[in-house]
Symmetry: C2
Subunit: 769 residues, 2 copies
């Protein structure tokens, strides 16, 4: 039984994917409505497909270049195996495929949701959330399937399917890192490219359509309206999917790497403890597998019965599913930690010994479980905090609304300040999460906290993806001129979708932050350097540079939206002028031209931020290497860079996401009317116009640059981990405690193998904790 | 001769102050114009005085509380002497007095500048720059006088005026840190309070006066106009003065602390090398002293002859003075390094030995000189970079202007992006500066780079302070209805002043960053901890929290401006409504009420950011102490916090200063007219209105929250240094090389004094570098 446990995650992933296929065929069987609706939906589908195909063609070139580079590295560096190239390609393909599944189902579900909304709200929810479920399970299922399949392959290839030693497992996991790198690279371009696409189309459509021509949003006469709806799918659906696919894989991988070091700390062999002797390595995969099954159960719980339901009931239905999933994951974590981990483990705590050396502590499996609880709780609380700062009717939003009465300037200041203030509680929570999960079970605890948080990814994505589907459904209702009740129903879903989009971003950055820290820890442990000491000037300098990169990245992304939107504006203006009868509805707008512009511009503009993300860590590693700097010193500098990117990236992500979300909902508040200085104020007022300006600023914040931060920080740390063997792999040089049994051993190792001096001191101190 | 060198800085400071008094009496003798001009000037003077007095009353309470706390600490901690309280009080008083001098001379010079502008531009420059010179020399002279006087006192009190040992010098410098703490505390409130004051009055005056009532800027009918002009003086003059006063003192102090550790690294005694055996400690003071004399020379070179001169010539005149000063400082640094330092010194480089221990390197005095050159060059280049991103007619500004044509939203996005992008080159420069000056001479090199940069403080302040004086002079010209040529002349000076304000902010943050790093290094060395290792989760958590504080601080400052401005808006509206004949010029506005509102609101609103700045480091130190956490672990956490604040603070300072400056000049571009899409566009156009909105957002950025970052980072590191004796002073525990003579010795010390284990390994490796 125990030895079969290694196949559990892959079976769970397969089950999840089978359920996904069943759900997909059910969705596809639903009525897709009449001719006009279908026509619009097809336009959106084709536009999205056109973008993805163009994007994949470009990324194929990227994948080939990186593959060649990785192959070159694997020839030079003995600890890097050429199979990393295969893993990398598959990671990229899986990630692209997962995004593709999500995008396809979303563009098929939107019109069916519109059609269902003609009969009832519960049906519309059932179908839109069904589409989200397909997306969520597709992404999560493929992530777990791919990762565990490659792990099994490498485990058999390098180790013959049974534990040999830590170094060989390190090679297995280093090779597996290629899969994660492939997934995260695609995610970078999907997030950034999709983010630029969606906002360029959105801003372009609004500036000419709503502001200049005075026609409503989603009006079929607007040539950019299809591009706008395509944007929702390629940005919010495919981009988000690729992002979480990458996070899922990276989190589990980082936890596995750190799990391997536990086995090392325990003497290098725990085969007596079962699970092929790799319990701590296997645990994160098992939790991920369990999470898929749990998510299936969670999605089944999401339903409403009342056709007269409002936002609160719909939100309630989603919450039931979500919180049940989280509770079940907690239960699963308890069982799996208890079942799969040795009752007590030895973990080396960096620098905690009296003399500044590493302290070996005895850690019970329950402490790992507590660490997973930290992850689950923090994930939930961060979502709640995000909702407070961006939610309709909450104090921060009401203040922005008030400030809109004195113009756009004060509205902008208030929005910026809200985003900035919101970093306070989120960062405090992170700090507590890092500290607490580390205190329970070291950096393995941090990684397991992230793994537990990510276990409900399928559920989170289902909740997330249903928003843009409902948004699209509303657009189709508008464009195909349905009965107002249809739009009302889709609006209820859309409004809930806006809230889940904001909390989903909170979840995404929280998981990305913990994942990055886990990768950071894996990197430091792998290179065997003496921590990351910022009292060294070069390391400190890199901390500064790392801190700067997310800021410049955000600026590039924002400028990219501006440029792409401008091109869209000129094209829409041209069509309004040149196509006869377009405003009367007799001339047909050239939707495809707008789609092509958004596609081309976003692909072009995503290059520079991508280059920045990938180029900086490579430059930091290879430039000093070329100048003959010592490997360990470079490794420490790169670590400083990673820390800088992570700290600054988390701050700018929270700032931008929450400011953007707050501006959006401040603007939305005017739809129902708000009281300013004792007077009811509505859409069309000067205050509302000021709020619209705020929303324009917030759009690239919350949909382009803000969410890109997740990928930036994860990819940075992942690149570090992948090039770690070039810089170090010194970990095996330092001595370890050989014979350890539930005693606590304090080890301090100093090793100098240089010409005239060699000191080797090992201190053992027995005490029970 | 050599032993007299210790008195050189104090003599130089005294000479500077005497020149300042001469210059002051010359300025005061100039014609102050006719009755109306004098009346307005008196209003401004009284308003500014009222604010400063109210501020000082409040700060007196603060000083008393902190003094009591410090006295308490000095009773408990043996290495902290009670004299630190005296030093603290004097630091606070000197800083307040320096701000006072600046503010008084500025408010006396403004009207004289207006009067001089009636005759010629060269005269107007002569007087306004004369006022700036008084301010600059007053601040710098008092800083050097106070610091060196207290150093002499403590040097004689604790050490009998001759070298004894490192530990006693440490006590001298720790006590001296009180002076710096006092100065920086006052600077915090002066900067933040002044920043809130000036923007609240400015925004309030504009919103009701310009926008609602449609009267021009500085119109005497506007009740807030006096408060607006007072704001220029309390924010840009007194605030900036206190800021640079604090920087000057902190920089020199940090370099002295690190100089003391050089003597320690050299065996604890270098009396054979002259200068009472304290050359490395004395050098930063000597450079500061030389800088004052050099600044006097520099200010003498600033003059123009042509009455038809434009901005370029005025800027050129300032540049002649500035660059000459910088060149002379370089020459002085060469001479003083050569003269005062031992020919070669031994410095311990943290963690650079093969085994990760400290490496003792032989450093020539010329390398210290090279480090000072790094500081001078980087100071100059950062100013140039700042000018590029915020200068009229430069590419970034032109792009913001273009983006204004599509509305406030795109203008804001472009401005934000400009500020964000500008962090790229500035941070790269910092990173290079840190690396290079460290490579030349360790953290002492970093501190000396900062000291050299700060040596021209008097000159920088003169250039800086002349801007608001000219701005005020223009306001007085407008309010007293002078001939348009007068306003034209003051506008030329004002426009140049805007550029120098932006570059001055670049200089201020560059020096603050290097100062903070030097303080950080002094802190780490003092506490004797093993560097700051962010691979420890608690330290990493503090890095996150530190990174968050500048963001939240900025948000609080911005919100404070918003609240204070709102109160001003209501008051101005009330006066317009209730005072009969106010718009016809027959009713007299109640200027003093507006002044009182700005005063009260800014003092109230500066509390929370101040509390945040001071409270966080104290909480991080004392909370874990209360829970029994180990001192060294706490010291390392606090170090992580300092690093987080510094990295994030530098980023947010550059971002906010440059974004604000860019928006300001984008708006100004419309005054002369700009070409947008082939069409000339002027003031009053829609694009201009969008640019005005951008400027409204930028105002608190560049004048309140942005410049406050300097103080936040310096004060944070200074608080760390002052509470360091409570946490550590472990430096003396670790062994040092006792007998070292121009050989390079590699020392690695591991000491464990615990119960059962003690390893003590000292490795000496001789080699010549």
């Amino acid at each position: 039984m125990e030895s079969m446990m290694i196949y559990m995650p892959i079976v769970a992933a397969a089950l999840g994917l089978i359920y996904m296929l069943i759900k997909k065929s059910w969705v596809m069987k639903q009525d897709a409505g009449d001719g006009k609706m279908k026509e619009i939906s097809d336009h959106i589908y084709e536009g999205a497909l056109a973008f993805l195909n163009a994007e994949y063609r470009l990324l194929a070139i990227f994948v080939i270049i990186v593959s060649i580079a990785l192959a070159g590295v694997s020839f030079i560096v003995p600890t890097t195996h050429w199979m990393i190239v295969i893993a990398f390609i598959f990671g990229a393909v899986f990630s692209a495929y997962a995004g593709n599944i999500g995008m396809k189902i979303a563009t098929k579900t939107n019109v069916r949701t519109t059609q269902a909304a003609r009969t009832s709200l519960p049906n519309a929810l059932k179908i839109s959330f069904g589409g989200g479920t397909v997306m969520g399970l597709g992404v999560a299922g493929l992530a777990v399937l791919g990762l565990t399949a490659f792990f099994l392959i490498f485990f058999h290839y390098f180790m013959g399917g049974a534990w040999t030693n830590t170094d060989q497992m390190t090679i297995v996991l280093e090779t597996l890192a290629g899969f994660s790198l492939g997934a995260e690279s695609i995610a970078l371009f999907a997030r950034v490219g999709g983010g630029i696409y969606t906002k360029a189309a959105d801003v372009g459509a609004d500036l000419v359509g709503k502001v200049e021509a005075g026609i409503p949003e989603d009006d079929p006469r607007n040539p950019a309206t299809i591009a706008d709806n395509v944007g929702d799918n390629v940005g919010d659906v495919a981009g988000m999917g690729a992002d979480l696919f990458g996070s899922y894989v990276a989190t589990v991988l980082a936890a596995m790497v750190l799990g391997n070091y536990i086995i090392k700390d325990m003497g290098g062999n725990i085969t007596a403890e079962g699970f092929a002797g790799i319990g701590p390595v296997l645990l994160p995969m098992a939790i991920a597998g369990a999470g898929i099954i749990i998510s299936v159960i969670g999605t089944m719980l999401v339903k409403i019965k009342n056709n007269e339901a409002k936002e609160a009931q719909v939100m309630g239905a989603l919450n039931v599913g979500n919180w049940t999933s989280i509770a079940l994951v907690a239960v699963a974590c308890f069982g799996l930690c208890k079942y799969m981990l040795p009752e007590t483990m030895n973990m080396s705590f960096f620098g905690e010994a009296e003399d500044g050396g590493n302290l070996m502590k005895s850690i019970s499996s329950m402490r790992v479980f507590y660490a997973t609880l930290v992850g689950l709780v923090v994930g939930g609380v961060i979502s709640a905090v995000t909702e407070y700062y961006t939610g309709l009717g909450k104090k921060p939003i009401l203040e922005i609304v008030q400030k809109s009465s004195t113009g756009a300037g004060t509205n902008i200041i208030a929005g910026l300040a809200t985003g900035m203030i919101s970093t306070f509680s989120s960062v405090l929570l992170f700090a507590i999460a890092i500290w607490a999960s580390y205190a329970f079970a070291g950096f393995y605890g941090v990684a397991m906290a992230a793994s537990a948080m990510m276990a409900t990814t399928a559920m989170q994505l289902a909740i997330d993806a249903f928003g843009p589907i409902a948004d699209n459904a509303g657009g189709i209702a508008e464009m195909s001129e349905q009965d107002p009740i249809v739009r009302e129903r889709t609006d209820i879903l859309d409004s809930v979708g806006n809230t889940t989009a904001a909390t989903g971003k909170g979840f995404a950055i929280a998981s990305a932050a913990l994942t990055s820290l886990a990768l950071f820890a894996a990197y430091v442990t792998f290179t065997g350097i003496d921590g990351i000491n910022i009292f060294k000037a070069p390391v400190l300098a890199m901390l500064f540079i790392g801190g700067m990169v997310p800021v410049v990245f955000s600026a590039l992304a924002m400028n990219a939206v501006g440029k792409a939107a401008m091109e869209m504006v000129y094209e829409v203006r041209r069509q309004f002028k040149e196509i006869a009868g377009i405003m009367e509805g007799t001339g047909k707008p050239e939707y495809d031209k707008c789609v092509a512009i958004s596609t081309k511009a976003s692909l072009k503009e995503m290059m520079l931020p991508g280059l920045l993300t990938i180029g900086f860590p490579l430059a930091i590693a290879f430039l000093p290497l070329a100048f003959g700097m010592e490997n360990k010193a470079i490794a420490e500098m790169l670590g400083g860079y990673m820390a800088g990117v992570t700290v600054s990236g988390v701050l700018w992500a929270i700032f931008q996401n929450n400011a953007g979300g707050a501006w959006d909902n401040a603007k939305k508040s005017f739809e129902a009317g708000v009281e300013i200085n004792g007077e009811m104020t509505y859409k069309g007022s000067d205050a509302h116009k000021a709020a619209v300006t705020g929303d324009t600023v917030g759009d690239p914040f919350k949909d382009t640059s803000g969410p890109s931060m997740n990928i930036l920080i994860k990819l940075t740390c992942l690149i570090g981990l992948v090039i770690a063997p070039i810089l170090g792999g010194h970990a095996e040089d330092t001595a370890t405690a050989e014979e350890v049994n539930k005693n606590v051993i304090q080890v301090n190792v100093e090793e100098t193998t240089k010409d005239n001096v060699a000191i080797n001191a090992v201190t053992l101190e027995e005490e029970n904790i």
